[in-house]
Structure formats: C-alpha cells, structure tokens
Amino acid sequence: MSNTDFAIAIEDLTVSFDGFKAIDGLNLYIDQNELRVIIGPNGAGKTTLLDLICGKTRATAGSIKFKNIELTKMAEFKRVRLGIGRKFQTPSIYENLTVFQNLEVSFPKGRSVMGALAFKCNDEVKARVQVVAEDIMLADRLDLEAGLLSHGQKQWLEIGMLLMQSPELLMLDEPIAGMSARERELTAELLQRICKGRSVIVIEHDMEFVKRIAHKVTVMHQGKILAEGPMAKVQADPNVIDVYLGH
C-alpha cells in the first residue's frame, strides 16, 4: 500500500517502557483534511501515541510517516517544522508573556539562533497575529498577560499558538477539559473552522463533544486499536461497550 494518500501513516508502532508495551503494534492512517478523534479508557496509550508522533517519546519499533517522510528518528523541532503541531493536555503557554507575545513567539520565522537575533516584529507578523487572535476569540485580549486568562482561554491560546505555525497536522490532547458549556460550544466551532486544509487528531473523553466534531473515531485499548469508524458504528461495537462498561 502506498502511504502517499494519507496525512499520516503509522505502521506496527511499538513502544515499551521496561518491558511494558504502552503502544503495541499499532496501525493508524489518517486522511488529509480529516478530523479524527481518539477515545479510550485511561491508560489506553492515547497520549503516548501523540507523544510518539510529535517526538516526545521515541518509538521502540515501527514507523510513522508524515507526508511520506519517516519521522521516528527525527528531532522534535524538525517534525514541527514539517508541519506537526501538538497541544498538551494541560495548557502549556508562557504565562509571563502577553497573549500577543505568546502568538508572536510561535510565528514560524526566526527559528534559528541567528534568525531570532535578527527577527523583527513587522507588519506581516502583526497581521498574522491579528487573524489568529480573531480565530481563537482573543483579539480583544492581546495585551493581557497570558497567566491571567481563564482556563478555557488558555486552551484556545495554545491552539492559537499552533495555528500561527499553519501546521498540516494538528494534535489536540483534551482541548475542552475544564471548559464551560458555552466554551465547549465555541471550541467545537473553532475545531470545525480550523480543520479546513489540515488534518486534526483530537483526544477527548466527552462523548457528546466527540459526536459533534468527529469525522471518524478510533477506540484504543491497552496500546492497541480496538475499533475504528464513524461514531455510530463504534458506539454499537460490543468490544467497545465491553471495554467501557465491562469493568
């Protein structure tokens, strides 16, 4: 099978920590422009899978191909430069900087040391920040210190920081954790907006939310894929029911 059609193709991926296999022979293919949601009970290996893709954890075996480029041996920052963006489970932003600075730092220019020294915040950067800030509904808070944002806004800001880089693959680890109902609503809209022109992987527990956004759902259990398909099909799968309700 050719991998070229997929945004990301994962084959036989395995990672073991001292013999414990957190991911065990996993195969996963995600299309261009797809929004895929990964669900599964705690300890299923969802976050580890994202860690493997973005490089936070190194694979023991198997391959990850992004745009047909092998990632497993690549340094993290290079994967980012290829177009992979990752939001962490707990919002990871620079609390001491303003919202503007947070976004500005994420602008994909001046990434080398010399580039950073020569970097100038010109109109192009400012315009880009403005666009993204409007996307993430923080346009009126640009001068606020990021630490003062609400939890939900911090989540958005982190998503915004990823959008600054215009990634082709966006991975979001529990993006609506700690959000109010209204914020969830807005986030769902946000996700639908931003998955145009890029693939998105979301890890989420909230089934209502998943139903709302998912194109396709993958269920993971003990490092393996248990089921995959549209939400309705997956929900009817007896294995899945067993895993979620069986114990």
């Binding site: 920590f17 001292d18 936070k56 954890t57």
Partner: protein, 304 residues
C-alpha cells in the same frame, strides 16, 4: 625479583585498587543518596565528612587523656558517634534551610555552599587551622603480612569492610525498611505519597540526615588514611562529585560501578606511570566518557 615477589606485588596492587574503590564509594554514597533521592546537591558534603573526621580526632584526644586503657576500642565507637553528629547536623540543616528550597534545586547548591564556608570557618576557629590526625589504635596501624613480602594494609582492610557494611546497609534499608519504602514512594510520586499518608517532609529530612551521616562515617574512615584540616572537605567533595557525576547521579548502582571504574583505572595507571600523569589520564577518560554520555553511566530512565 622472583615469581612469588611478583605475585605478591600483583596481589597488593589488586588490593590497592580495591581499597581506593572503597574510599571513593564511601565518599560518593552519601552524596548519591541525597541527590538521587531528593535532587538536592549538597555542597557541604565534604564538611560533613570533616565533621566525622574531627569526631574521631576529638575522640582519640579525649580517650588518650582520660581513659588510655580504652584506646584499642575507641575507634568503632567514635565512628558511630561520627555518624550521629553528622546525622544531627544534616537534620538541622535540612530543617533550617533545605526544606525551603526544594522547588529551587540550583539554589540549594548555593545555600549549601554557604554552609560549607561557615563550617570551614567554625573548624578553623574552634579546632584550629592545623591539620590534625588522630592517634589510631594499634590494630589499625601497619600491615597484615600472612607471608613475608605480602603486606596488606590494615587501614585499607578496615575501610573496605566499613564500606561493605555501609553500602549493604543502605541498599537493604532502601529495599526493605519502612524508610526505604517511603523514600521510594516519595521519589516516584511526591503528591501521591503525601496523599497516602506518608510524611514526605519527614522522609526528606531523614534521607538528608542519613546522607550526611554516611558522609560522617566516610570522614571517620579517612582519618586512617590522611589528615584532617578545616579545608579538607573541599578536597573530598571534588572526588565525591566525580564519582557521583560519572555514575549517573540518580542511581546508587551507578555510584558503585563508577567508583569501581575510577578506582581501578587510577590505581592501575598509577602503577604503570607517574602519579600526576595517572590522575590526568583518569580525569581525561572521565571527561571523554561524560562527553559521550553526559547523563553518566547509569542515567535514570525518566526523560527530562
């Protein structure tokens, strides 16, 4: 020079390597416990060793003056006292300083350096600037010569035995005792340990104090090899650091292996080349290996 002479020298040389290994291990052990289990670098480690050494010295002075008949047995008692004093000092310092700095590990380094300066000046003011050396009991002096031409240093044997006891004690305590359990729990998840009713503050204090106590024992053991002065601590800490750094800081096993490696390299190199060259060779090797494996021989598995 016949074959049996050569054999004897070979045996003695092997023992020289072993006793250097014991010395290095004993020096590094306390430091490794504190760093490995708590992430704190104790720059006053050398001064705690000096406390131990001075305890022995004072012990020998007092015994000589008031109870000369006890000279043969004072040494083991003084070693225990050395542990107690250093332990108490460690307890006090953890309580007064270190516990406020757990969130800032680099700052503990500076604060403990300050402590080491203060302790040095205390030694100088209260004990005197001269290097001192205790009067050792006869059974620690000279050599044990099972056959003529083969001299095994008694102080070396003593240090070796002491190191074995202390190391085994620490390993056993870590794996079997309540303290060990608490320490391991605290290391792996502080919040969780707290939640399950482990007093992590007390565990930290105990760990720090035990580390310091072992430093005290190490210092006590060195009185059989060298002398003690107010600044001896700085001499000790350098070697301790090398051992711990090279071993991979977080791992006791690493400390053991690195002490063994360094000791054997240096001891062998010293036999075949001049002392200064040997030291250089050993240090260069350490650097080269550290350049290739900056995290030390046995790095912890957890990613930073």
């Amino acid at each position: 020079m016949n074959f049996s002479d050569l054999l004897n020298i070979g045996l003695m040389q092997g023992f020289a390597g072993l006793s250097l290994f014991a010395v290095l291990l004993l020096m590094g052990l306390g430091l490794a416990i504190i760093f490995g289990q708590m992430g704190v670098i104790n720059m006053a480690h050398g001064e705690f060793m000096a406390i131990g050494a001075y305890t022995i010295y004072l012990g020998s002075q007092l015994t000589e003056q008031y109870a000369p008949s006890l000279m043969p047995v004072y040494f083991p008692l003084a070693v225990i006292l050395a542990f107690c004093f250093a332990f108490a000092g460690g307890w006090l310092i953890e309580w007064s300083l270190i516990r406020h700095l757990y969130k800032r590990p680099l700052d503990t380094l500076l604060a403990t350096w300050g402590i080491s300066l203060a302790m040095q000046q205390c030694f100088r003011t209260f004990i005197g600037p001269k290097e001192v050396s205790p009067t050792l009991p006869d059974w620690l002096l000279g050599s044990w010569a099972p056959v003529s031409g083969l001299d095994i240093p008694r102080n070396g044997m003593f240090v070796l035995a002491l190191t074995a006891v202390v190391t085994c004690g620490v390993l056993l305590a870590l794996s079997k005792s309540r303290w060990g359990l608490r320490v391991r729990a605290t290391v792996s998840n502080r919040v969780m340990a707290n939640a399950t009713g482990i007093d992590t503050r007390k565990t930290d204090r105990l760990t720090f104090a035990i580390g310091c106590g072992i430093a005290g024992v190490a210092g006590a053991a060195f009185t059989t090899i060298g002398s003690t002065g107010p600044t001896s601590g700085q001499l000790y800490i350098v070697d301790s650091f090398l051992v711990v750094t090279f071993g991979g800081a977080a791992s006791l096993l690493g400390t053991v292996v690195s002490a063994f490696g360094i000791a054997q390299t240096q001891s062998l190199a010293e036999f075949f080349m001049p002392g200064s060259m040997a030291k250089m060779l050993t240090l260069t090797l350490i650097v080269v290996i550290l350049m290739m494996r900056p995290q030390g021989l046995f790095a912890s598995k957890v990613r930073r």
